[in-house]
């Protein structure tokens, strides 16, 4: 079903650590943590980097990531491809992504179901798409374009959204299921995004997860969210990545991994980034949940691992 085997490692980029991402907890890599990470006795399962931060020619970011990559598997998470763009993808940006992937040999490459560029303007945010046939066809074609260039499948992440499109003709889970089937990509299940969107659009996160094609999931994201109110005074959750993971999200996570078995799980913390030991504590909570997952998950049909 899903074959995410990375290309063979070119001779000029060999790293001491494995490529393949273990079914353990990992953390988003922040430059200020690199020294603490390298001197820490606790060895995280993997680190995730935003691809765009490593698209410069050289300097400190590449030196730091090379050190990390020599000690850990990494995953590359793109934030700038604008997969949902109505105006097509930027082939220069696909080339830049390919360069990062070639250089660092990540076990997983992922992107978002969103758009961020329009008419040559980049908005630096993950903007929503309607769930209709035209968008589906476009996203499938764009994922194909990226996978053809990278010569490997990518994982597509479910979004957190604040508005619904009246023009949508299908549910988010039907939309994502169809993308995975047609594009042959894997999925990155962000459980905080599920909880945020479910709250914002008043549906049940448990029902959403029961309809989500878990067999395609190669990685899970967890993060913290902020709380606000909309014009009607209803709860509006914001995908803020600025605090610990919420209890409700841990509960959903536990349910999902009990169902699907251990899987690479990332803690994202991108704003008000704490000291390393706080982020590590979050990852250890995820790791403890993964360690307690039964050996024979309920979902027998799940592919061995989308990440291997």
């Amino acid at each position: 079903m899903l074959n995410a085997t990375p290309r063979p490692i070119p001779a000029d980029h060999e790293y001491l650590a494995e490529c393949s991402v273990p079914a353990r907890a990992g953390a988003g890599l922040k430059g200020q943590h690199v020294d603490d990470i390298l001197s820490d006795d606790y060895k995280m399962g993997f680190f995730e980097v935003h691809a765009e931060n490593y698209m410069g020619e050289g300097g400190l970011p590449h030196q730091a990531l090379t050190q990390i990559r020599n000690n850990f598997p990494i995953t590359v998470h793109g934030v700038g491809l604008s997969i949902g763009s109505e105006r097509g993808l930027d082939s220069d940006h696909i080339e830049r992504l390919a360069k990062v992937v070639d250089r660092y040999q990540p076990g997983i490459v992922s992107e978002h179901l969103a758009w961020s560029t329009h008419d040559n303007h980049y908005y630096n945010d993950l903007l929503p798409v309607p769930y209709d046939q035209a968008t589906l066809d476009r996203v499938v074609s764009h994922i194909g374009q990226v996978q053809d260039r990278l010569k490997r499948p990518i994982l597509l992440e479910n979004p957190s959204t604040y508005v619904a499109f009246e023009q949508s003709t299908m549910s988010e889970t039907d939309f994502i299921t169809e993308i995975a089937r047609r594009a042959g990509c894997g999925l990155l299940l962000d459980i905080n995004n599920v909880f945020v969107s479910a709250t914002n659009h008043k549906y049940s996160p448990e029902k959403y997860l029961s309809e989500f094609p878990l067999g395609h999931v190669g990685e899970i994201h967890l993060a913290g969210h902020a709380e606000d109110k909309d014009d009607d005074g209803e709860t509006l959750l914001i995908d803020a990545h600025d605090r610990p993971v919420a209890d409700e999200v841990w509960k959903l996570y536990q349910d999902v991994v009990t169902q699907m078995g251990p899987i690479p799980t990332l803690i994202e913390w991108d704003n008000d980034v704490p000291e390393w030991h706080i982020l590590r504590r979050e990852a250890k909570i995820a790791e403890a949940i993964l360690d307690a997952v039964p050996e024979h998950p309920l979902l027998g049909e799940r592919h061995a691992s989308a990440a291997e």
């Binding site: 050289g58 491809l81 903007l127 014009d231 209803e234 509006l236």
Partner: protein
């Protein structure tokens, strides 16, 4: 199945044209067709996207121009940054390339007319980040010149390091930049003094150093591919007091070049 209203008419189709045209100005209405669970257009919900974009882009400007932020104070800086990003959204997903027009924006901003050096301080901050992300290369060794016979040194040509840059200001932009990057007082700086700097990265750390104007001529002549002799002459023409031994020690310390060779030598036989 009966067709939905939205399938009968395009009126409520929100294109990315529509979405993006309403995104950067909070005074504009929200797109019709984006709704809350109660089925209404919800300003607060659309504002989350507006806010994310503005906070993300102004945050990037603040990261790139910390000296300008210290000079203006956080509040004034953030209001200026909001004005700048609304009219100048990035044109690339590489946020470390953002902000190239910020210097001109500051210079054109009427209330800042009494601070004409701000533009050049911003230019140095932008060059600092270009230098930070430039390609890696090994600078020439401190003793590289001793490999050549003393009488031939004037015929040496140099390959510039990819991170090395020069900047000339008619103001004391270099001292003002340095004081505000280091968080020190600006006592003793006369903004009207013209200053030049060399921006380089001998190791992973960016180095911005104030150099005499004649040294700028010296390095620029070498960047243009001319010989050490020609560069020394050009610098001495600019300033008879030009100190070539100091310029050469700056060149070696700051890692301005990656290789040198005699101008008539075949490529490849370079003295490293």
């Amino acid at each position: 199945m009966p067709a939905r209203l939205s399938e009968l008419s395009d009126e409520y189709n929100v294109t990315q044209d529509t979405f993006s045209s309403l995104l950067l100005d909070p005074k504009l209405p929200c797109p019709k067709g984006l709704v809350s669970p109660s089925g209404k257009v919800d300003v607060k919900r659309f504002s989350v996207y507006r806010n994310n974009v503005v906070v993300g882009l102004t945050g990037a400007i603040a990261d790139i121009f910390p000296a300008i932020q210290r000079l203006l104070g956080e509040e004034a800086f953030m209001s200026l940054a909001r004005l700048f990003v609304a009219d100048n959204p990035p044109t690339s997903p590489l946020m470390f390339q953002y902000g190239s027009g910020f210097a001109e924006f500051l210079e054109a901003f009427e209330p800042l007319k009494d601070y004409p050096y701000l533009g050049d301080v911003a230019r140095i901050e932008r060059l600092w980040l270009d230098c930070f992300h430039s390609a890696d290369a090994e600078p020439i060794a401190p003793d590289a010149l001793s490999a050549f016979p003393p009488e031939s040194l004037g015929d040496l040509v140099f390959e510039p390091h990819p991170a090395a840059r020069l900047f000339s200001s008619q103001y004391a932009a270099v001292s003002i930049f340095s004081a505000n990057r280091q968080g020190t007082a600006m006592d003793g700086i006369n903004p009207a003094d013209a200053e030049d700097c060399l921006i380089s990265r001998p190791d992973a750390q960016v180095d911005v150093r104030h150099i005499p104007q004649a040294a700028t001529v010296f390095f620029q002549t070498l960047f243009d591919g001319q010989t050490l002799g020609e560069a020394a002459n050009a610098a001495s023409n600019q300033d008879p007091e030009f100190d070539i031994s100091m310029a050469i020690s700056t060149m070696l310390e700051a890692g301005v070049f990656t290789s040198c060779k005699l101008i008539n030598e075949e490529p490849g036989s370079t003295g490293q």
